[in-house]
């Protein structure tokens, strides 16, 4: 019998994550790829790569559910045919609760955004996302590593080797950078600068997102930046408690949405919208145009598959988006049918007890 799997895709600003999970929600294959400005090609690459590995490992397999998340979730959703298109906050929280059931605070730092999610009794009670400032996200670290001339993978080790971290102004990336250069010209070592940067990044993160909120253990730290051991240590010093980095730390969003999609399929009993691995061979184009229907001048996005338009979005009135009735539910929930919670099943049971 063909093995049943669910696919989760997380299209972040910098990286794309493709995850296959089995029926027990265990990760069979998780890929972490750079988006490099073209999400569609990256998704296809990831799917081809994953398909080949899975084929070798398990032979025939069947995809029963597909979920997409991340900032490119809508686009990915229509291209692959998703059953669930979920925001990254819910997806991350779901995966973290699955991995660490008694989690209370989730730190998540990705390429372009950082979030903090507060969990009480297995349910999201509050969250915050960085708004106007990109200080302390993965891109910034990437950029600084490049400037200092070390690879981002070594960043954490450098920070750990430091004995006297220098103090870096962490309010704004631009000022942080000039401060770093200043310290460097004064004679500070790269190790001390990197350690100082890690600390200022954590300070800035907590100041921005966690202001006035109660930080309770258990702490979980995930997202691409959690690979960086220097930042993990800085977090631990800042909160004065151990911070858990889950084993799938980089692909939590994709994993979460794969599980959510699988659950959605199980709950509703529908069959998947997944278009199959054949989509990797199709040609996808996107087009943006300004609608001239009224004074709103909406920017309308069009997704074209092999010369045939498969989705429109961006219009306020529905002039374009209502033209096509795709099975993929990109932005409109069917209100009454979607009134269900995102609490993981085991927690729902806990509550009932």
């Amino acid at each position: 019998m063909a093995k049943k799997m669910a696919l989760g895709i997380d299209i972040g600003s910098v990286t794309t994550k493709v995850v296959f999970v089995d029926e027990d929600d265990e990760v069979l294959e998780g890929l972490y790829l750079r988006t490099k400005g073209n999400p569609i090609i990256t998704i296809k690459q990831g799917m081809v790569e994953a398909y080949e590995t899975l084929r070798k490992k398990y032979g025939e397999f069947e995809v029963i559910a597909v979920g997409t998340t991340g900032s490119g979730r809508q686009l990915a959703g229509v291209v692959v045919g998703a059953d669930m298109i979920k925001n990254e906050i819910s997806a991350h929280a779901y995966a973290a609760i699955r991995e660490v059931p008694d989690v209370s605070t989730i730190f998540e730092i990705g390429g372009q955004d950082s979030k903090i999610i507060f969990i009480r009794n297995g349910a999201v009670v509050d969250f915050a996302m960085n708004t106007v400032c990109a200080a302390g996200t993965g891109s910034f670290l990437d950029h600084q590593a490049e400037r200092i001339g070390i690879s981002i993978e070594d960043f954490g080790d450098y920070a750990l080797r430091s004995e006297n971290p220098v103090r870096i102004a962490g309010r704004c990336t631009v000022f942080a950078e000039s401060d770093m250069i200043h310290k460097q010209q004064m004679g500070a070592t790269s190790e001390d600068i990197i350690a100082g940067l890690s600390e200022s990044l954590v300070r800035n993160y907590l100041n921005n997102l966690a202001r006035g909120k109660e930080l309770l253990p258990t702490f979980v730290f995930q997202g691409g930046v959690s690979e960086n051991i220097g930042i993990v240590r800085a977090f631990e010093r800042a909160v004065g408690h151990e911070v858990i980095v889950p084993k799938n730390n980089k692909i939590m969003g994709a994993w979460g949405v794969a599980m959510l999609a699988k659950r959605e399929i199980e709950l509703t009993g529908r069959s998947t919208n997944f278009k199959g691995f054949k989509i990797t061979e199709l040609r996808h184009d996107t087009r943006v145009f300004y609608c001239d229907g009224c004074a709103n001048n909406c920017e309308v996005y069009e997704v074209i598959e092999n010369g045939e338009t498969i989705a429109y979005w961006g219009d306020r009135c529905g002039r374009w988006s209502n033209r096509l009735t795709s099975k993929v539910n990109t932005h409109r929930n069917e209100g009454y049918s979607s009134v269900n919670s995102v609490i993981p099943a085991n927690h729902a049971k806990d509550d009932a007890r």
């Binding site: 819910s90 529905g318 009454y336 009134v339 609490i343 509550d351």
Partner: protein, 382 residues
Amino acid sequence: MPRKVTYVFPRMGYSYAAFESFFQILGYDVITPEPSNSQTLKRGVSNSPEGMCFPFKILLGQFLKVLEENPDKYFKIVSLESYGPCRFGYYSPLYAKILKDRGFDNFEIVNVEGIYPPWYRGIPRFFKKLIKLIGWHTPWTGVKAFLIAGWKVYAIEQLERKLYYLIPREKIVGSAEKAFNRAFERIHHAPNKVKAIKEVLNEELKRMDSVKHVENVELPKVGLVGEAYMLMDYSNNLEIEKKLAYMGVDVDRSLWVTNWTLDRIIKTKEHLNHMLEVNKGYLDFFIGGDGQESIMNTILYKQKGFDGVIQVLPFGCLPETVAKQILSNVSEDYDIPVLSLSFDEQTGEAGFITRIEAFVDMIKDRKAAKVGKKKSTTVASQ
């Protein structure tokens, strides 16, 4: 002979239809500005001081576009004036100055304001401004204009409420909106008679009711509080109400033109006393704008059994920023989730949708958890 006057007024949500009728009854030409779009925003932002309130920039952009497109007309620009320690009070003189600096001289700015104490100065001032605003008319025409505009505002609000009730319940996605658009156009172009408006309203409400939908479902309820203009204008808050409704929540806005007028201009005293009572311990003085109202409405929403509150604030709005900090205390004390969304010309729609989606997920979660707990306690007691 004075030149023929054309009126421009701040466009706010769907209420523009009523204001249009108001000036038409008085016999003036009227041009409704476009809803906020990239072009009006660009004009507004590049001509305003950087740290200025976002609504100021929006409206400046709308006025500029109208003035640019009609160089041969003479305009009266209607602006609202508020009283108190908020920059709203300086909007009109600042508009006049910026527009003059840009080389326009075919306009004057007229404004409306309430009657402020002391009454012996407030009342004459009010009438002076009113006459400047609408010109000399027979009292009957003036009364009629106010009456019809009032009725239209009321009718549109009834339709809007119906729309947000129907969207999460409709069976065919988009059918409620279609019915609403039709109904709105009918009210917009309804003859200027109270009876006719009433008839159209009843007819259209019935027609909207016949949209196939599910009754008797309990949906999570979200209340919207925040700065009046951002809250009431759909083109600037990225249609937050519609988006929430499509996500399957019952959405309620705390400020409408009708209750705003009632609270701020007609029944100010009752309103203030009520607010002081509700806000006790949080904020007991006026901080300008709608800051106090935001806090009051959040508490009232909690008391009415809402599951969450979203605060809509324009970036750089001082009263709302103050309220935001206090709201985090309110949120904790009253155990109601509050999401503050700040809007400016750079607000990306993607981040905005992510936040409200996650917020909706969260309140659905909380609601489910509460229901679960209730069930478990009943089981235990048995």
